[in-house]
């Protein structure tokens, strides 16, 4: 019982990160029309930039410790946004009307470019990254009915969950109540229709790219203390993010977040079974093929529908 609860408590924050990743990927898929295989990699470079900024702040004695981290985070987020906008302006705009396959291949090329740049400018080594909320974990000891149940909450996980929640709510609000959100949704549903009512779809695409990659940078910064910082730090997160988007169905953005949570918990649950130890990623990926085939619109297609 403890194991199960523990799996869920570790799985949920992890899953929230996959979900946020998937959310960005689904957003690009919906509006810009491509599957972005460089999503995690552009975020990885931004995390490296964040790390370098932090080290610079500390090295120059401008800021110290946690302050340096909090000052460096905006730098990373801005870098992510700039990457997103540049990818759209310089590359995607050229091939948008050629073929979807060429957009996909360009994102694969970008994957290589980002990884190569990270190897070249920084290093292939693993570097540690500070937690947002350090400190000892909270331990919940069950009493009475829950006698013997012991669950550990890591502090950083709580920060992760809070941030994920805040972002999800604010993205939902952005999508639902602002003009930009409306434009993004319109462009995703019907590009020609969106253009005919005066929406600049090119600008919407740039915004979508910038926004999604910024989100991915948030994920990167949150996950960095666990994976540590290196050129392939977000590879699995990105693949699982895509998986989350598939689970949620690309048609619904928030489905991706639910999908991410499910994957995060599932990953931990598989871990409990000793025989399956180590196979969790493989199992999840084989599951994905089944879902793609039998429920290509995602698990929540019927229930959530076209929320965004």
């Amino acid at each position: 019982m403890s194991e199960l609860l523990q799996a869920i408590t570790i799985g949920i924050p992890q899953g929230a990160l996959y979900g946020l990743m998937g959310f960005g990927i689904a957003m690009i898929f919906r509006s810009a029309g491509t599957l972005n295989f460089s999503h995690g990699y552009s975020a990885m470079v931004s995390v490296l930039i964040t790390l370098s900024a932090m080290q610079t702040f500390i090295g120059l004695n401008i800021l110290e410790g946690r302050l340096a981290l909090f000052a460096a985070i905006p730098v990373g987020l801005i870098a992510g946004a700039v990457f997103g906008v540049l990818i759209d302006l310089l590359l995607m705009r050229r091939v948008k009307h050629v073929s979807p396959a060429s957009m996909l291949m360009i994102t694969l090329g970008l994957l290589l470019v980002f990884e190569g740049a990270a190897n070249l400018i920084w290093s292939p080594d693993y570097e540690s990254f500070p937690r947002l909320l350090p400190g000892p974990p909270f331990i919940f000891e069950g009493a009475g009915l829950f006698e013997g149940i012991r669950v550990v909450f890591r502090r950083n996980d709580i920060a992760v969950m809070l941030i994920a929640l805040v972002i999800s709510v604010s993205m939902a609000a952005l999508m639902k109540y602002t003009k930009i959100g409306l434009a993004i949704r319109a462009r995703g549903q019907d590009p020609v229709g969106a253009q005919s009512v005066g929406i600049n779809t090119n600008r919407v695409d740039s915004i979508v790219w910038g926004l999604s990659i910024t989100l991915a940078v948030v994920v990167g910064i949150l996950i960095a203390p666990i994976t540590r910082v290196h050129p392939t730090m977000l590879m699995n997160t990105q693949l699982l993010g895509i998986t989350a988007a598939v689970l949620g169905g690309f048609s619904s953005l928030f489905g991706a977040i639910w999908g991410g949570l499910m994957i995060g918990v599932l990953e931990r649950l598989i871990d409990i079974v000793p025989a399956l130890d180590g196979y969790e990623t493989a199992i999840i990926f084989f599951l994905i093929i089944l879902i793609l085939v039998f429920k290509p619109m995602g698990l929540f297609a019927g229930k959530v529908g076209r929320k965004a």
Partner: protein
């Protein structure tokens, strides 16, 4: 066959050059690796470039091939059969997985297929990582372990890889040229259209998927064999991207793209780049290359080369062929005709002269098999502007050509002779016989241009320009005219080379000249005995044309079954019989 031979000798030559340049066999190991990835690349060419199914999971099939080979080699140590067994089992497992994955996944389109296959690829890598092997990093003995590591092993491996590559290249070529390949490409171009033609989409996609999986599994197996060490990461996401890079840069349509791409992606880093660029920057370079190719050269190097070869290189290529062909010694002699121009001819036998006049893009060689007609001295000329005869200014007038032939007859010191004209040469013969009636004793027209000219088709200018600018087009046109004899490769290529010798300015003008002339009026006073013959299968001269000509010339018409445009090469014996009896008949009648 020729392509395979050329490619094979090219690969072996590359190995030899590498050996000579470096003075060691180390680079051969790298080149073997290039061939291994090229086999996988050909698999990708089949599934992505020709079937249009964007699969990113084929690295997993390589992993299957590699691990099967490794496991069985380890299980049966010291037995060469173990490795072979492992390879075969690897191919079998890959087929089973291709069925299992392909059956559901190929229902998906575009991105969804890409996601499903990449999930398969990464999932397979993770599964192998987690499997309870002693160690997922496998160290396996080398396939050619009967020799110690060293030059002999490197060379043997290289030769073996070349043979395997060529074998799979041939298999790929056969598949792509077969009806299967056509169906694959139909699916790529339009699933709706393919289905409306009755293609079984699911079955054909699956076939392409399995074939490509087998290619990749063999490549994986050979990877294990040549490298001796395998680890899961070799076949991970990066390998999937490498496979894609190979065909994007190499070219996804032609099988050669796999080899070119593999050389650039796998070969260059190992051979040169590694020392030239800072470590780790290769990924960056290839990323940039991939983006540049997708934006600027989406069809890849092999396809671009193919296009360039056909668009730009054909004229120089034909010039080179022409130059080389001219170097061959000739046996005939030259005679001065008009204004010092030389006309080339060959002759054989004794007796009255039978003058052969060849057709358009022809030469005396068209008569090479009918030179020994009993009772005649046969003389085959190259008309002016053709073959080895001199070039003249006028290219669009049959009469000018006939004038030169008349001068030729005078120069030989002949009063009169028998004339046989084929096709275009028939028009020249008619011009000669009508305008110089006493020079021609009897005339034989073989599938000749009709008496009132051969009208120019609507699109002939473009078609004729294509003949002038493309060796392959010229060759196939010659083949058509050769009828059943086009199967004789040697003769086909000889006659095509002879066609190259024709004045390049004359291609279209000859068609104009054929369109232009009309000897119907001249034929009114024509009383030279003549015979018109036509092959039933002739694609150029219709039955109606031949009848009209025979009627105007008051000549007999003889029709040959199962013969096309060129009786003289399709059935030389029949022609010789005609040539002999034609004379007898007419002497009797005179």
């Amino acid at each position: 066959m020729k392509r395979i031979f050329l490619l094979g000798s090219g690969i072996l030559a590359a190995g030899l050059i590498a050996f000579l340049l470096t003075g060691g066999t180390y680079t051969l190991g790298n080149l073997s690796l290039v061939l291994v990835w090229a086999i996988a690349g050909m698999g990708m060419v089949i599934i992505i470039g020709n079937t249009g199914q964007l699969s990113l999971g084929h690295a997993a099939f390589m992993a299957i091939g590699a691990y099967s080979t490794a496991i069985f080699t380890e299980l049966l140590p010291g037995i060469y059969g173990g490795m072979l067994l492992g390879t075969l089992i690897g191919l079998f497992i890959a087929t089973v997985f291709a069925l299992l994955i392909g059956l559901p996944a190929l229902r998906l389109r575009g991105y969804y297929l890409a996601i499903a296959t990449i999930a398969f690829g990464v999932g397979m890598e993770q599964a192998i990582r987690a499997m309870p092997f002693p160690n997922p990093v496998y160290n396996i003995p080398h396939i050619l372990s009967f020799t110690r590591p060293g030059p002999i092993r490197d060379i043997a491996t290289y030769v073996l890889m070349t043979a395997l590559f060529l074998l799979f290249y041939a298999i790929g070529l056969v598949i792509l040229k077969s009806p299967f390949g056509v169906k694959f490409r139909m699916i790529r171009d339009s699933q709706v259209a393919a289905r409306s033609y009755g293609t079984n989409l699911a079955a054909n996609k699956l076939q392409a998927f399995i074939v490509s999986a087998v290619f990749c599994a063999l490549a994986g197996s050979m990877y294990a064999v040549t490298q001796g060490v395998i680890q899961p990461v070799t076949f991970g996401l990066m390998a999937a991207i490498d496979l894609l890079l190979i065909i994007i840069i190499g070219g996804a349509i032609l099988l050669e793209g796999g080899l070119i791409g593999s050389f650039i992606i796998v070969g260059l880093p190992a051979l040169v780049l590694e020392e030239l660029v800072p470590p780790g920057s290769l990924t960056l370079i290839y990323g940039i290359l991939l983006i540049i190719f997708v934006i600027a050269l989406p069809s890849g190097i092999a396809t671009e080369l193919y296009i360039m070869w056909n668009r730009k290189m054909q004229v120089p290529y034909m010039a080179v062929l022409r130059f080389l062909y001219r170097l061959k010694p000739v046996k005939g002699s030259f005679v001065e005709t008009i204004e010092g121009k030389q006309m080339y001819y060959v002759a054989q036998g004794e007796g009255p002269i039978l003058l052969y006049i060849h057709g358009n893009t022809g030469s005396h060689q068209w008569f090479r098999e009918v030179m020994d007609v009993p009772g005649y001295r046969t003389v085959a000329i190259d008309l002016m502007n053709f073959g080895r005869s001199d070039r003249i200014e006028t290219t669009d007038d049959i009469d000018t050509y006939a004038d030169h032939v008349a001068a030729f007859i005078d120069q030989l010191g002949l009063e009169t002779c028998y004339v046989a004209g084929h096709s275009f040469g028939g028009a020249v013969a008619m011009s000669l016989a009508i305008r110089y009636p006493n020079k021609v004793r009897r005339m034989l027209l073989i599938d000749s241009a009709p008496i009132d000219g051969l009208p120019l088709g609507d699109d002939s200018e473009a078609r004729i320009e294509a003949l002038r600018r493309h060796y392959g087009v010229l060759k196939s046109a010659i083949g058509k005219v050769m009828g059943s004899r086009s199967k004789d490769r040697h003769l086909h290529s000889l006659l095509t080379k002879e066609a190259l010798l024709m004045n390049r300015e004359a291609y279209f003008n000859h068609a104009l000249a054929l369109d232009d002339f009309d000897y119907s009026e001249g034929a009114a006073s024509f009383n030279t005995p003549a015979l018109v013959i036509r092959g039933v299968l002739d694609p150029l001269i219709s039955d109606e044309d031949a009848r009209r000509t025979a009627e105007a010339l008051k000549a007999e018409l003889q029709v040959f079954d199962n013969i096309g445009h060129a009786l003289i090469i399709e059935d030389p014996e029949a022609f010789k019989k005609v040539a002999v009896t034609f004379d007898k008949d007419s002497t009797e009648s005179v």
